[in-house]
């Protein structure tokens, strides 16, 4: 990448954070903010201890427990291992002087929800976390990516990471989104189009009028699932909407630096004639509400569609993969998606656990009841999302409709806590991964938007929001 000529948003953030080159030819990239949670950090802190290394800049790190935490009866974590992990995070952060939002703190929540909510996430930053969905923060024009535990240790010790530049990909989505189609449908459609390895080695910049027309919440949903397309990160150019969202939040720049920050942020969007290694253009009118049928996020189909037939696969590998997925999912080729009967509904996760998502669900299920055979659970992304929803009366609407109203956490997105599917149970989920066993051994996950999940909860089958009244 040259320093001259037009630059992409990624190029600009990259060069701004380059500390230098090591003798082995690798680049040291400075990390502005490091988010830490209980599952991928204990071994990193242990490593520091063993080599007697301090944390380089404790105030650049913020920690929260989210993966393991119960969503009911939080005072008492029953699983002894989960309990130890949460306690270990509290102990490690205290020892190193790192800010920690504990379980009783209203600011506690899913790490990728609270970053933006607290104003920690800002344009032009580099942000890392030992979690692949760190890509969420790219919605603010921050270069944000998931790292492994050894890298967590590296960042704690040095505030840098060893990286080589990614390739630039731009996905432009243009036009007004059709009725019933929103950010989740958009990103599922994109993953279906480019595949789960389509973005490997790339940072995907999302652009175009459909993307820029989304709310910040909608943009976060898009960037969140960039990792499901194999990308290192997702990025969206910051604009006035971004600045408005950040202003006044606890960790946002204060009035003394606000104008200076906005001026810098305004210089970040990609230059008009910047070069991309890969360009994809999508017309949003071709997108329907989307649902996954299989065990990979690329296994998507329109809610109006049918379960695919393995015999239509282009390669032998793909055929085998479809057969394996269908067997796991207990589905027959040709079945109409809206004929698929559900057992559970999960609304939440770092993909769709924000206030806007909860409002949409409430507006759909208001004065209705969930189907009698369905169990539906709603897990706000953070304590503050929960509080806001309660202030707006959303919790009452949801509870009246038959939803369980839980405390904040990752919950059934990955089922590390007691919220899990039983073998064979089928779930409409607003989360991000439909892998085998993801939500519980033998559990069957259909990824979809909060709107579709809400309509599906009422009908009891996967449902098209466009047919729902």
């Amino acid at each position: 990448m040259s320093n001259q000529g037009p630059k992409t948003l990624f190029d600009k953030i990259w060069s701004e954070h380059l500390v230098g080159q090591r003798e082995d030819g690798t680049n040291l990239l400075y990390i502005d903010r490091h988010l830490v949670h209980e599952v991928t950090s204990p071994q990193a802190f242990e490593g520091l201890k063993l080599s007697n290394r301090p944390v380089h800049r404790p105030e650049a790190t913020i920690a929260v427990a989210d993966h393991n935490v119960p969503t009911i009866n939080r005072q008492n974590i029953e699983d002894p291992q989960s309990k130890i992990q949460v306690e270990t995070l509290a102990k490690n952060t205290k020892e190193h002087g790192i800010q920690y939002f504990d379980l009783m703190d209203q600011r506690q929540g899913i790490v990728h929800i609270i970053g933006p909510e607290q104003g920690i996430t800002q344009p032009g930053m580099t942000i890392v976390c030992g979690d692949s969905h760190t890509s969420t923060h790219g919605a603010f024009g921050a270069l944000a990516f998931g790292i492994g535990t050894s890298e967590v240790e590296h960042v704690l010790a040095t505030q840098t990471i060893v990286q080589n530049p990614a390739k630039n990909m731009r996905i432009s989505v243009n036009g007004e989104l059709p009725f019933g189609v929103n950010s989740k449908d958009l990103i599922l459609y994109i993953i279906g189009k480019i595949g789960t390895a389509g973005g490997t080695g790339h940072v995907i910049e999302y652009a175009g009028s459909s993307i820029m027309g989304l709310s910040m919440e909608g943009r976060m949903t898009i960037c969140n699932m960039s990792i499901e397309a194999g990308a290192r990160a997702g990025l969206i150019s910051p604009d006035q909407k971004t600045f408005n969202y950040i202003k006044g939040r606890p960790y946002a720049p204060g009035t003394e630096h606000w104008d200076q920050a906005v001026e810098y942020w305004s210089s970040l969007p990609s230059d008009n004639d910047a070069n991309y290694d890969h360009e994809i253009v999508i017309d949003s009118s071709e997108i329907d509400p989307m649902v996954t049928w299989g065990t990979s996020p690329e296994d998507v189909v329109s809610v109006k569609g049918t379960v695919p037939n393995p015999s239509s696969a282009k390669t032998e590998n793909k055929k085998k993969s479809i057969e394996r997925s269908l067997e796991y999912m207990g589905l027959k080729p040709g079945t109409k998606i809206t004929d698929i009967k559900l057992d559970k509904i999960f609304i939440g996760s770092c993909t769709n656990g924000r206030i806007e998502d909860l409002r949409k669900v409430a507006s759909i299920v208001k004065d209705k009841k969930i189907a009698s055979h369905v169990q539906a659970m709603i897990v706000p992304g953070s304590g503050l999302v929960k509080k806001q929803a309660e202030e707006e009366g959303i919790d009452i609407i949801l509870k009246d409709a038959g939803f369980e109203w839980r405390e904040a956490g990752c919950s059934m997105c990955l089922g590390m806590n007691p919220d899990q599917l039983k073998p064979g149970e089928r779930c409409a989920s607003t989360s991000n991964r439909n892998f085998e066993g993801r939500q519980g051994r033998g559990g069957r996950t259909h990824l979809m938007s909060p709107e579709l999940a809400a309509a599906s909860a009422i009908i009891g089958n996967i449902s098209d929001i466009r047919d729902f009244t």
Binding site: Y30, S51, L414
Partner: protein, 202 residues
């Protein structure tokens, strides 16, 4: 970190595409605060039934593949979560090299942090190696020469020079970076002036 120079042994064939990190090591094993002891839980849901009994026909449960040091797998190996528990569990089982046509970025990186060599080969070569693995032909992986040998096949592979050196010498990455502490401090001083809001304590 453990060094990696060369490796000899049979390879376990796992002809499945998109093997994700949830498959490699399911969530219930992420509650550990240690890096070791995960080998027994590697590929848990494919290896054990609902009652925790070994599923006899799963490749890693059959002799001689239960002693494999090498895994040959389908496209996009290691996709999904960033959990380093995936390479930890592979290594604890005894796997020191994974061969596929492609790897997810974070998993690929995580391997090198743990002395595991992920090797990218072409789809044609993967087919050859998958067959050789099924036939229990001995593999030799030579990192200095960047060659995999399996029966009559000899396949060259690419690897970035710094990654190769780190594996060969078992280097401590953090130790290397701490050698650049002055540069990091100087960077911070410069940015404190340019972007003061990033350094203001809350």
């Amino acid at each position: 970190m453990d060094k990696f120079h060369s490796l000899k042994g049979i390879a376990a064939p796992l002809p499945i595409v998109n093997i994700d990190t949830d498959m490699i090591i399911p969530k219930q094993f992420l509650k550990t605060i240690k890096r070791t002891g995960l080998g027994v839980s590697l590929f848990y849901e494919m290896r054990y039934d609902n009652d925790g009994n070994l599923i006899k026909d799963f490749v890693l449960n059959t002799s001689p593949f239960d002693q494999s040091k090498i895994l040959v797998a389908g496209d996009n190996f290691g996709c999904g979560s960033s959990r380093e528990h995936a390479p930890w569990s592979l290594k604890d089982f005894g796997i020191r090299s994974v061969i596929s046509t492609s790897f997810a970025d974070i998993f690929y990186n995580n391997c090198f942090q743990n002395g595991i060599l992920p090797i990218v080969v072409s789809p044609e070569n993967l087919d050859h190696l998958m067959t050789a693995a099924k036939n229990q032909i001995e593999f030799t992986i030579d990192l200095p020469e960047q060659i995999i040998k399996a029966g009559n096949h000899s396949i060259n592979f690419e690897i970035e020079e710094f990654r190769k050196e780190r594996l060969l010498q078992g280097l401590d990455d953090i130790g290397i970076t701490l050698g650049y502490q002055d540069k990091i401090n100087a960077y911070e001083e410069e940015k404190k002036n340019k972007k003061p809001w990033l350094f203001k304590k809350n």
